[in-house]
């Protein structure tokens, strides 16, 4: 099966090369058969990558310990659930997994547009094949996951061997989130390839108008949704597994995932400027180029060891390949831009500082500043070494100092932006739209201050959150009221109807509401508390309203590990709340251990209990307890964001709109004027 897999990969490489070279020839000659055959080659590339991925999974499930990658990341007693995840737990497999997810996207795109956009698709196909060639080169010739296990024999030649059992999966990865977090994040990283290919293809083909933006909007949102979910799942994994009480530490790996998210978010907003006002064309093209480059950079940073927090661990030469690839993409993008930039001329100018355009402009500006700050902070050790010879790193204070004000500004714009009119907003409409929300925000601030919210940024954050939530609620309320007056349905049904009529706008509001929840959760960080204590059986400790009593501890033998388990009773005002069982797991296959945090989570706060190990002096267990307010809001907000993204992906319910057009022609005209200025803007048709 390993031979089968590596052969499939090699064949995929050949097919991708044909799709690339043949695609260029097809663009030159415009021969219809050549166009068709290169598309088929693109599809075949994907099919072969699927086969290779499945054969690697097969090797895991059949416990084939003659393959080096399987030996390094699996063992017989590993549960099937984690055998699936073992695929992406190491360098070689995760690169194959990258190719696999990219192939899913490429396959869908090639299939979906096989008879459409005949002028554009050959260019897109070439770009996609180019990206696939790079990853297939890595899969085939640099980091093959199908390498057989060998030992140096007596005569110096390598002998093939098979082992009885594998080394097992890294215990840090043996958690449910680790099975769903990487696929989500990778789907985000790979997904941005599609808008990139369309943008570059359109630029190379001088494809007219905003068509590439309409074509890729859904792809971008899918990628963005996965990226968001992936980042939050990663944060949740760090929170639940690493046992240090937090979820975000500005670690290079975390930053790497945030960077394309920031530019991707900016892109999702700034395309609206192009769609509605024909502005920012150059900007949009470059945003999508940068997003893709940052995706590749992120993939590179996580596996090259260039800025690994423990820089001595770097032991891979794969980085050079990535640097080369990034340089090539940059060169291609720059060439395409300078050759065809006249086709990206803006059609309009900014009219007023209080307008939708300017809110998008500022949104983009600060997202980009944030991205640059995070990027430079992450790469600071590398650059400082180049320029000064000293390797200097910056830490959490640097990132927080810049990004907290940026986050708050963005939050403010989230509330203000969508309600500003295009071109210019009158003072009157400002009062009408923002009077109540502003008042509610201030009232919330006045209530929160005496309740102990004294930290400056947190207070501002809570005020802004209430303000934004109020503006969003008002938007739903106003729209639903109009529908209700006409249909007589309940408010809830009217709000649902409203959402379905313009899924993009109201889905967007739902995403914003989710972000508000996430911000509330982050603002809670300012009030985290923690206590650490050595505890004997029967002793207790107090944090906030909770008392913790160590009742006992025991050892539990599981299939793949042994768990040392603390049995802790939690009480509040002498009433039992629940039992918590923080653990340490010892994995005999690789003699590693991991913590299992016990969390009692309520909407108000998380009680987060870690069995931190035994005290070196007395051998008594050390328990570290954190009280983290409002953390649940973050995870809940993440769910809302993903739901909102899904809503925005739905096609508009259009029959109702046509029906109302017959009844109320005047109203629909105004609606059409504000919402659908161009026929291409309508969703669900592309």
């Amino acid at each position: 099966m390993d031979v089968f897999g590596s052969f499939a990969l090699l064949l995929a490489f050949v097919c991708a090369a044909y799709a690339f070279v043949g695609g260029i020839a097809a663009i030159r000659t415009r021969h219809p058969l050549l166009v068709k055959s290169t598309r088929q080659a693109g599809l075949a590339t994907c099919g072969l990558i699927f086969l290779a991925t499945f054969s690697l999974e097969y090797l895991f499930f059949s416990d084939n310990f003659s393959v080096a990658y399987v030996v390094a990341h699996s063992n017989r007693s590993l549960s099937p659930f984690y055998k699936v995840a073992a695929l992406w737990s190491g360098q070689e497999g995760s690169l194959l997994f990258w190719s696999f997810l990219l192939a899913v996207y490429v396959f869908s795109a090639l299939l979906a547009y096989r008879n459409k956009n005949g002028e554009l698709m050959p260019y897109v196909g070439v770009v996609l094949a180019g990206v696939q060639i790079f990853f297939l080169t890595l899969n085939n010739f640099v980091a093959s996951p199908f390498k057989a296990l060998g030992v140096a024999g007596a005569n110096g030649a390598m002998d093939l061997v098979a082992r009885g059992d594998g080394n097992g999966l890294n215990p840090l990865l043996q958690y449910p989130e680790m099975v769903i977090h990487p696929p989500n994040l990778y789907s985000g990283y790979t997904g941005f390839t599609i808008p990139f290919a369309f943008a570059l293809g359109a630029l190379l083909a001088r494809y007219p108008g905003e068509k590439w933006i309409h074509l890729t909007r859904k792809w971008t949102m899918i990628a963005w949704g996965f990226q968001t979910a992936g980042i939050l799942l990663g944060a949740h994994w760090a929170y639940a597994v690493l046992g240090w009480g937090g979820y975000w530490a500005w670690d290079p790996v975390e930053n790497a995932s945030l960077l394309p998210w920031l530019t991707g978010t900016a892109f999702l907003h700034s395309v609206m400027m192009q769609e509605k006002r024909g502005m920012m064309k150059v900007w949009n093209v470059w945003l999508v180029f940068c997003t893709f480059l940052l995706c590749i950079l992120g993939t590179f940073l996580t596996r090259s060891g260039v800025v690994s927090s423990v820089h001595a661990f770097a032991s891979s030469n794969i980085g050079n390949w990535f640097v080369g690839f990034i340089a090539i993409i940059l060169l291609v993008c720059l060439t395409a831009y300078f050759k065809n930039r006249d086709y990206l001329k803006s059609e309009n100018q900014l009219d007023s500082i209080v307008s939708r355009e300017s809110s998008f402009l500022f949104n983009n500006l600060i997202l980009l500043v944030s991205c640059i700050a995070v990027l430079s902070g992450t790469l600071f050790p590398v650059f400082s070494e180049w320029f000064t010879g000293d390797r200097i790193s910056v830490g959490t204070p640097f990132f927080n100092k810049v990004n907290i004000p940026i986050g708050l500004l963005l939050l403010f714009l989230t509330g203000v932006g969508p309600l500003l009119a295009w071109r210019k907003t009158s003072l009157d409409s400002l009062k009408r739209n923002f009077g109540w929300p502003l008042l509610m925000g201030l009232i919330a601030g006045v209530i929160a201050f005496p309740l102990g919210v004294r930290e400056f940024y947190s207070l501002i954050c809570f005020i802004l959150c209430v303000f934004v939530a109020a503006t969003i609620t008002m938007e739903f309320y106003r729209g639903a009221k109009v529908i209700r007056a006409r249909s007589g349905a309940s408010f809830l049904a009217s709000a649902v109807d409203l959402t379905m009529r313009n899924t993009r706008r109201y889905g967007g509001y739902i995403v914003h509401m989710g972000m508000v929840l996430i911000f509330i959760g982050i603002a809670g960080t300012a009030f985290n508390r923690d206590v650490q204590k050595e505890m004997q059986i029967g002793s207790s400790m107090q944090i906030g309203p909770y008392s913790l009593l160590l009742q006992n501890f025991d050892t539990k033998q599981e299939k793949n590990y042994t768990a040392e388990r603390m049995i802790i009773e939690v009480t509040r005002n002498n009433k039992p709340v629940m039992m918590l069982y923080p653990e340490r797991r010892i994995f005999p296959a690789n003699q590693a251990s991991g913590t299992m945090v016990a969390i009692y989570s309520t909407l108000k706060q998380d009680l987060y209990v870690v069995y931190a190990g035994q005290s070196p002096d007395t051998q008594t267990p050390v328990i570290h307890v954190y009280l983290n307010p409002l953390v649940k809001c973050i995870w809940f907000g993440g769910v809302v964001v993903v739901l909102g993204t899904l809503v925005a992906l739905l096609p508009n319910r259009r029959a109702v709109l046509v029906l109302s057009a017959v009844q109320e022609p005047t109203r629909v005209k105004s609606l059409a004027g504000t919402l659908t200025p161009s026929p291409t803007l309508r969703e669900g048709h592309d």
Partner: protein, 146 residues
């Protein structure tokens, strides 16, 4: 033209204030990386910098004392005695021969006083002899907090 000036001022104010904050954050958190060999050649003001030093934990050198943990880091043929004084328990991955990164300042007596220790057993996840190195996709266990 006046509109442009307004936008220019708005953008300028945002960028300058964020730049200022970034500079403050940089001053507060900058940490120098040094190898063990470099550390022994440092003199004067650079000895008072906050720094990070990486190395391998010398087998048998971990001594848990009350209030601190002493161990010896090795690298490039040199060794560095370290006292860890942080309040967090050491990570699970911190054992003999693990690769560790300590963060803190050198003391006058030549010991390195660490406030944070990160560790990773790189060797544990490697393939069998002859196989390729496969660093884990996970992050280092950490003792630092946000």
């Amino acid at each position: 033209m006046q509109k442009r000036a307004k936008f220019g001022i708005g953008i300028g104010v945002i960028i300058i204030s964020l730049g200022f904050l970034a500079w403050m954050g940089y001053g507060e958190s900058k940490t120098y990386y040094h190898t063990i060999a470099e550390l022994q050649t440092l003199q004067g003001a650079s000895l008072s910098h906050r720094m990070r030093v990486g190395g391998t934990v010398e087998p048998g050198s971990i001594h848990r004392l009350s209030g601190r943990v002493d161990f010896v880091l090795q690298g490039e043929g040199k060794s560095l005695p370290v006292s860890y004084v942080g309040s967090e328990p050491l990570p699970d991955t911190f054992v003999d021969k693990s690769q560790a990164l300590v963060e803190g300042r050198p003391a006058a007596d030549g010991r390195f006083v660490a406030e944070h220790v990160q560790a990773k057993c790189a060797s544990k996840y490697e393939a069998a002899p002859g196989g390729t190195t496969a660093p884990s996709a996970g992050r280092e266990a950490r003792t630092s907090t946000m």
